[in-house]
Symmetry: C2
Subunit: 228 residues, 2 copies
DNA sequence: ACTTGATTAAAACAAACGTTTGAATCAGTC
DNA sequence: GACTGATTCAAACGTTTGTTTTAATCAAGT
């Protein structure tokens, strides 16, 4: 398959690690599981990557960098089309979600194992993962927050940050895979149709971010479930 | 503090495990860390709980059972107040979120370490955790799904399941703690004011669940970020 | 005071972990 | 065809993991 022997082993390891990280979580995956899945010698990991931590970073980096480039391209297009005016909200959210989701239909990209890895990373307590994520996402967060501010000029920035945070969680959970979905729907729904999931996800987050402000014309009655 | 020596050690272990699970994740926490934090002998874990798996289950069970009872009570009140009519959406969401959030202001309950544990569990790949969660949550999911169906009668059940799934993810992420929030807000926001977070969270999820259907009067333009 | 059952303590268990080592193998170059 | 650098291999390194064992300690009951 892979013609260049120089990078063959490296790729085998990355693919195996990615698959196992998606299924078991990063912390629960040992190097010995990885090399068994990749069918390479255990020393190859340290030869090519140096350590387990650097392998984790390499797995994240390989996918996230192209994903972020695609995100920026989509955001550029949105901003160019809007000129000086306000930005449309849904395309911004889509620009964030579609690039990772696109991997799901790409067999050459492990069929989207990485999407689940990515979803998990957003709540991963492991320091290596958190540091890697911080480094790989700093720029993305900055640009998308700026876009949100332009898309929702009527909301105070603080409110937008809260909602962006909530929206990131919605995505992360949806990307992790559909085990919870199966519980909620008693097995009736799954994540099979990626495009449909993506569209519903965008619609849900967009509606959440556009929610009326608390204490506004439609106050949220949220003081215990007492009688109306 | 704890007067009954019978349960003192058991409680020390549960509290220590809960704290460490919240900070490091369940999988990354070893029994030796737990017994060091609890200042007990390592054999006490197996004497009182039998195994690490059963300790994990005990940690989850101790908080989730009372939380679920409270949830049911709040849901009962909502249903009683509504009679035959449709249920109000926000109180249902609040009935799900407030009971765990209440722990955050309770020093006797580890100051809400468990809230973060619970948030993580929703995406935890570990089989023990997933099995425990499934068992502890089956009834809750059933009752809340039924409530959602009554609160949003204009939406098809399938659509409601998707949105409930998204909403669960939003909660889970918010409950995990505010590290992502700090990144998003560049350190300007935190989860300090639990009540304010809860209200924003309820408002976000409610708006998401009430989003207009795709292809309805306000179609979501979600086919690439092309010009408007 | 002695016995009994429950709890704690110290020590060891095999297994699995990430990592390192040194020799074997392979590709090209002179 | 020997040499060189890069890659792979089998084997072992010292730690740490969850678990078990055996003895010591404790609180009551008689």
């Amino acid at each position: 398959m892979a013609e260049n022997p120089q990078i063959k082993t490296k790729t085998l390891i990355l693919d195996a690690a990615e698959r196992l990280f998606a299924e078991q979580g990063i912390g629960h995956t040992s190097l010995r599981q990885v090399i068994a899945e990749a069918k390479v010698n255990i020393a190859a990991v340290h030869y090519h990557f140096g350590s387990k931590e650097q392998l984790i970073y390499a797995v994240l980096e390989r996918r996230i960098i192209p994903i972020n480039e695609e995100r920026f391209k989509m955001l550029d297009a949105i901003e160019a089309a809007a000129g000086e005016g306000p930005l449309p909200l849904e395309p911004i959210i889509e620009a964030f979600i579609r690039p990772p989701f696109r991997l799901r239909s790409n067999p050459a990209a492990n069929h989207g194992s990485f999407v689940r890895v990515m979803g998990r990373c957003m709540n991963e307590p492991n320091e290596t993962v958190q540091a890697a994520f911080g480094r790989l996402f700093g720029e993305v967060i900055k640009r998308f927050m700026a876009a949100y501010l332009r898309a929702l000029p009527e909301l105070p920035p603080e409110e937008i940050m809260w909602r962006a945070h909530f929206g990131a969680g919605t995505m992360a959970h949806a990307m992790c895979g559909g085990e919870m979905l199966k519980k909620v729907s008693q097995g009736r729904l799954d994540m099979g149709n990626g495009e449909a999931v993506l569209q519903r996800l965008v619609a849900f987050i967009a509606a959440g971010m556009r929610a009326p402000m608390l204490g506004a014309d439609e106050p949220v009655k949220t003081k215990e479930g007492k009688k109306a």
